[in-house]
C-alpha cells in the first residue's frame, strides 16, 4: 500500500523536473559554447596587453581589461575551456578509479572490504583542498596536477557510493538467478551490476563535476592552479581581488561564470534523477 502512495507523490513534480533539466542544459550550454568557440577564435590574443589597464566594458573589450591590459572576455573564454577540461578529466579519473575500487570492495571478503572501506573513509575525511595541495606540492602547480589531485580525492567518494550501490544490487534475486543461469563474475559485473548502478552513479558524477570545477577554482585562487595565459576563472578572481572596488567587472565576470556552470550542471543532475530509475518502479 505504501508503495502506491510513494509512487503517487513522485509523479507530481515531473513538470518541475523538465524545467530544471532545461535550465541546466541552457546554462551549461552557454559555457560549453564559449569553450568550443574559444578553440577556433578569440577576440584578442591572450597575451595581448594593448588595451588600457583596468578599463571598463566597451564595444572593443566586452568585459573590459585586467590590470595588465589583457582582454577579460578572452580570458573568460579560455577559463571556460579550462573549467570544462578539469571537470571532465577529474570526473573521468574519479569514475574509473572509484568504480574499480568500489566494485572490488563490494565483492571482496569481509576483511578486505573493511580495510578498503576504512581507507576510503580516511581519504574522504580529508578536505579535498588539503589533499590537492599535497599533490600540487609534490607535482608542482599545473593543470594536470590539479586534475590528478581532484580526481583522486573524488574517487574515494565515488568508490564508497559504488560499493554501497553494488552491494544492494548483489542482494537482489536476479543476481542469484544470473548465477544459476551459469553467468560468471565478469558477466555479472558487466551485465547486471553496472547497468543497475549506472543511473544513480551517473547523477552523482554529474554533481561531482560541479564540485570539481569549484575545487579547481579554489586551487587557482590560492595560486596552486595553472598559471596564465592558461588561467582558469579562479585565477582571474585572485588577480581581480585587489581592484574589486574600482574595476568590479574583473571579479564579477568569472564569479558569475562559475555560478552559471556549476548551477547548470547541478540542475542537469537534478533533472536526470527523474530519469535515473523509472524502470524500477513496481507496477502491480
Amino acid at each position: 500500500m505504501t508503495a502506491v502512495v510513494e509512487q503517487v507523490t513522485d509523479a507530481a513534480p515531473r513538470r518541475r523536473r523538465h524545467t530544471t533539466l532545461g535550465l541546466g542544459l541552457g546554462f551549461t550550454g552557454v559555457i560549453v559554447l564559449l569553450a568550443l568557440v574559444s578553440l577556433f577564435w578569440l577576440p584578442f590574443d591572450p597575451s595581448d596587453i594593448s588595451g588600457g589597464r583596468l578599463e571598463g566594458p566597451s564595444l572593443e573589450h566586452l568585459l573590459g581589461t585586467d590590470k595588465l591590459g589583457r582582454d577579460l572576455f578572452t580570458q573568460l573564454m579560455i577559463g571556460a575551456r579550462i573549467a570544462l577540461i578539469v571537470g571532465t578529466a577529474s570526473v573521468a579519473l574519479a569514475a574509473v578509479l572509484g568504480v574499480a575500487i568500489g566494485l572490488t570492495a563490494a565483492f571482496a571478503r569481509p576483511w578486505l572490504d573493511d580495510s578498503l572501506s576504512a581507507t576510503l573513509d580516511v581519504i574522504i575525511a580529508f578536505p579535498v583542498l588539503l589533499l590537492a595541495m599535497l599533490v600540487v606540492a609534490v607535482q608542482g602547480a599545473s593543470l594536470w596536477s590539479a586534475i590528478l589531485a581532484i580526481g583522486l580525492a573524488m574517487s574515494a567518494v565515488v568508490a564508497r557510493l559504488t560499493r554501497i550501490l553494488a552491494r544492494r544490487v548483489l542482494h537482489e534475486q536476479f543476481i542469484t538467478a544470473a548465477r544459476t543461469s551459469g553467468t560468471r563474475l565478469p558477466g555479472i559485473v558487466f551485465f547486471h551490476v553496472l547497468p543497475n548502478i549506472a543511473p544513480t552513479l551517473g547523477v552523482n558524477l554529474a554533481l561531482q563535476f560541479g564540485a570539481a570545477v569549484l575545487a579547481e577554482a579554489s586551487l587557482s585562487y590560492l595560486g596552486l592552479g595553472a598559471p596564465p595565459p592558461n588561467a582558469s576563472w579562479g585565477r582571474l578572481l585572485q588577480e581581480a581581488q585587489g581592484t574589486v572596488l574600482t574595476a568590479p567587472v574583473g571579479a564579477i565576470a568569472p564569479g558569475v561564470a562559475l555560478v552559471v556552470l556549476v548551477l547548470g550542471v547541478n540542475f542537469i543532475a537534478d533533472g536526470l534523477r527523474d530519469f535515473a530509475d523509472p524502470t524500477r518502479r513496481r507496477s502491480r
Binding site: 534475486q173 542469484t176 544470473a178 548465477r179 543461469s181 518502479r281
Partner: protein, 254 residues
Amino acid sequence: MTALLELHDARFAYGRRTVIDDVTLGVSAGQALGLVGESGAGKSTIFSLLLGLAAPHAGAVLFDGAPLDRRDRRMMRRFRTEVQTVFQDPYSSLDPRQRIDRIVGEPLRSLGIARGEQAQQSVADAVRSVGLDADALHRYPHEFSGGQRQRIAIARAIVSKPRVLLADEPVSALDVTTRIQVIELLAHLRAETGMALVMVSHDLSAVAALCERTVVLQGGRVVEEGATRDILDAPTIAYTRTLVSAIPRLPREA
C-alpha cells in the same frame, strides 16, 4: 531408480549455529517433491545446497549419483543446464534493466548452449510455452504484473530444457487467482517435458497440487516424509499433525 538430484546426510551451519543437520532427500527423473516447513526449518538452506550455491559442511550434494564438485567447470556447466530454478519474488528475480528476450536467453548465452538465430528461437518458444505473446520479448519487467513476471522467470528456467526444476515458493508472492494459473502452468510443463520438480513451500495446498511426495522439515531436520496424500490424510508425528490442522480451510460447500 537412481536419484537425479539429492542431498545425503547434509549439514550446514552459520558460524556456530547449525541450520540443517542429517538431511537426506532426493528426487528422481520425472518426480515431484515438496519441501514443507515453517520459518527457520532450513528450507532456504536446502534450496541453496541443491542449487549448488553453497556447499554442505558435512554430507554431500549428489547429481546423477556423483558428488557435485563446484570447482569442476564442465560438471557445473552440465549441472546448471539440467538443474534450473524459479525464485520466490517475481519483482526481484528479473533484472529491471534488461529486456525479456535477454533475460530469458541468459542461460543459453552463459552456458554456451545456443547462439544467434537458434537462441532466439529457443527463447521465443519458451516465452510462448508459458502463455505469453511474442511482443513480450521486447518489453521490460516493470511492464508486467507479478503473475506474468513469474511466467517469464519460468520461461528462463525451462529454456535450457532442464531435467530438474527447483522452485522456491514460486506462488507465495502471487494473488490467489494468479496462483492457480501458475500452478497449472507448472503441472502442464511437467507433463509435457517430463521434468522433475522440487518445490519449497510453506503453503501445503500448492505442494499438494503439484508434488506426489513431500518432506516435512522442522528445526533443520527431516521429521516426516512420504506420499503427499499420506502426510495430509494420516500424519504420523505431532508436528505434522499440527501443521496440517493449522491450514486455513474453506467451509465445506453446502
